[in-house]
Symmetry: C2
Subunit: 404 residues, 2 copies
């Protein structure tokens, strides 16, 4: 194995930064792994017992974690205190604007879904109009919480397909407009972080799903559009302006169909839902028919079967390109690509194996996303909790940004 | 702009790790930026004066830097001590195995080329046979150094084209064989780190070349093969096994020429040197004719001109895909792609602009590599210096791994 190169050298640390860093590491550990004994934290975080004890005490004092005596253990010696995240007390707002619905959740520290509101999103509803309805959900949920709960932040995942009303890929400007609309609804906070659904779900699968402990992975998200959350060395490839992962607009077929983006033969035109519906002789605008085509293919309808196999060929084709470029350990299929891949896995894998470099496919696994529809909310919560882990004590003993 | 997501949380730090980290940060700063005053280091590294003073004193004591009184300055107050890397004393061995030559250099801390040996590499020479000759160069150079110099490590950059004797892309195993061959030559060290030429040059351009201060970039290297060093958020995308960046085997033309990798229509078959030579009606195996074709195109020879334009079209095509995937700030062309891009820049840019997502190309710059033929040696030196910056005091006052 070649050694990686990183010419990045993070900025130096003073005493206060180190304490902050270590508090964040401990807090994030119990957020991801759940209640953990001090003894295990000592091992996992490579810090000595007294340091762990001091850090845990600080976090207890702030109300971010609790410490309890663990149940009697069989080992000799004193029982180790268990450190648990205060999941009911510390929470974030995690929102999603999806092709056909909008959702708002309160997610507690530790990744627990505490509350959830959902509404149908009519096709014609502009993204900015969804903000008012989501803001209503947020206020409604915030109104029902106990007085001593602390809101630490908010984030919104937006489906790639909703980038702007003309159907063009989302721009930086569109994200800014969305952030501004939330800021107008919540002038005193929280500030809602905006990101792409594929990015957000990729992070969720990495933190809590099928890609736990996998540091190089590609999460492929398909519905009307196709995009990806690419994670290398444990970090999301955001790109210069956060627009990385637009794999749907990788051109794979120069003589293919025109794409809504203005190009031709984009991967999305070969593996998106419209392609499946067109190949199967269905109405390409009838999203509900996707499941029907997959069922028909499974039951042996010839045209539906051929349509699925053709999508699977192009799926393997594009994955081969990505595997050559990124050399991941794991490729995860989500959204409607989850069912499409499941139906054509053999064909897709075979095409991948015949096209990609042997050394790059030797270790690569292909898997279905594992978190289900909550993935996007859990991923958005990770974004929203980010600032808390960067500086846990900043939350203070009272809400620092209360929802109105 | 969307905020990035990183779910990576580096491991916590104890006192000793912090000191090591800060020593490394200071040392790397003067390595990259050259002699710097204590006052400027205080600002640049966000540490207080006494900490900088103590760190610098530690590095002086180890012989890694020197401190001198800077020349009289116009500002009021005491002159600040200048901290300079000991470029003559602290060095690494930087080697390259290229398509038609092998090189070995001693590179001093600060990125100074102190010594250089070079030999022609016959086409038929297996990569492993190059090791003996390079080892001879290394011993020869090491024999001429002063007694108090310190060798901190070694690295080898290998051209993608030389991956194995069958012409297939290099595997992890091939890298291990190469590392083992060096280990056999230098049983007491240094351990030679192996990496891909495109990765290494990408890092060099990022640290010292056209991509300084650009954190999201793609360095495209072309000669017989085409590969890339992809850097996102300041870090090289190595991939799971270090095989990332194989952009030459991204399929862009499903009906194109068969590729040596076993696939068809790989980007390399459209923009590699062979493609240029074939399109121009030259002998595809005559690498020397590449420069002649470019000259002829410049002088108006119709077939050569058309050949360059066709390559430029495909160059823009593939760059569009990469820009959509990675959302870089900057794409840098090197190797023979440097001259090919220069000759067809207008065509390539126009194709890129018509294909890539408008939001992703809005800010992207295309540039020629700036470091010239030494880039690969400077980049290899960065690899070799890596462990020094991770733990500067480990070098001790005497060589910890002397070359035999």
């Amino acid at each position: 194995m070649r050694s990686g190169i990183s010419d990045e050298h993070p900025p130096p640390y003073g005493q206060e930064e180190i304490r902050r860093h270590n508090l964040g590491a401990l807090l994030r550990y119990v957020h991801v792994h759940g209640p953990t004994s001090r003894a295990d934290l000592t091992t996992q975080l490579s810090l000595n017992r007294s340091t762990i004890g001091a850090l845990a005490a600080d976090l207890v004092a702030t109300g971010l974690v609790t410490e309890t005596v663990s149940s009697p253990i069989r080992r000799a010696g004193r029982p180790s205190l268990m450190v648990s995240p205060c999941s009911e007390r510390i929470y974030a707002h995690a929102l999603s604007i999806e092709t056909s619905r909008i959702r708002a959740a309160r997610v507690g520290l530790g990744g627990h879904l505490l509350d959830l509101r959902e509404a149908h999103r009519p096709d014609w509803m502009p993204v900015l109009d969804a903000v008012r309805q989501l803001a209503g959900f947020v206020r409604d949920m915030a109104g029902s919480v106990d007085a001593d709960t602390i809101l630490v932040g908010g984030a919104v995942a937006v489906d790639d397909a909703l980038r702007d009303t003309a159907g063009r890929p989302r721009t930086e400007d569109a994200d800014e407009a969305l952030a501004a609309a939330f800021a107008a609804e919540f002038p005193t906070g929280p500030r809602f972080v905006i990101n792409d659904m594929a990015h957000v779900v990729g992070v969720a699968e990495h933190v809590r799903g099928i890609a736990v402990q996998v540091d190089d992975l590609i999460y492929l998200h398909g519905d009307v559009r196709v995009s990806a959350g690419i994670i290398t060395a444990g970090r999301l490839v955001s790109g210069h302006r956060g627009l990385g992962g637009q794999v749907g607009h990788m051109v794979v077929n120069p003589h293919g169909r025109p794409c809504h983006c203005g190009s031709r033969g984009c991967w999305e035109t070969e593996i998106g839902e419209r392609a499946l519906l067109l190949n199967a002789g269905r109405d390409p605008d009838d999203r509900a028919a996707v499941a029907e085509v997959l069922r028909a293919a499974d039951q042996g309808e010839e045209q539906a079967y051929a349509a699925v196999q053709q999508i699977a060929e192009w799926l393997g084709f594009g994955v081969a390109n990505l595997v050559n470029l990124i050399n991941p350990d794991l490729v995860v299929f989500g959204g409607s690509l989850r069912e499409i891949y499941a139906a054509g896995a053999k064909t897709a894998r075979s095409r991948l194996d015949s096209m990609a470099l042997p050394a790059s496919i030797e270790h690569v696994q292909l898997e279905l996303s594992s978190l289900g529809p909550d993935a996007v909310l859990l991923g958005a919560a990770e974004l929203a909790f980010g600032p808390l882990f960067a500086d846990p004590l900043r939350t203070g003993p009272v809400p620092y940004e209360a929802a109105p």
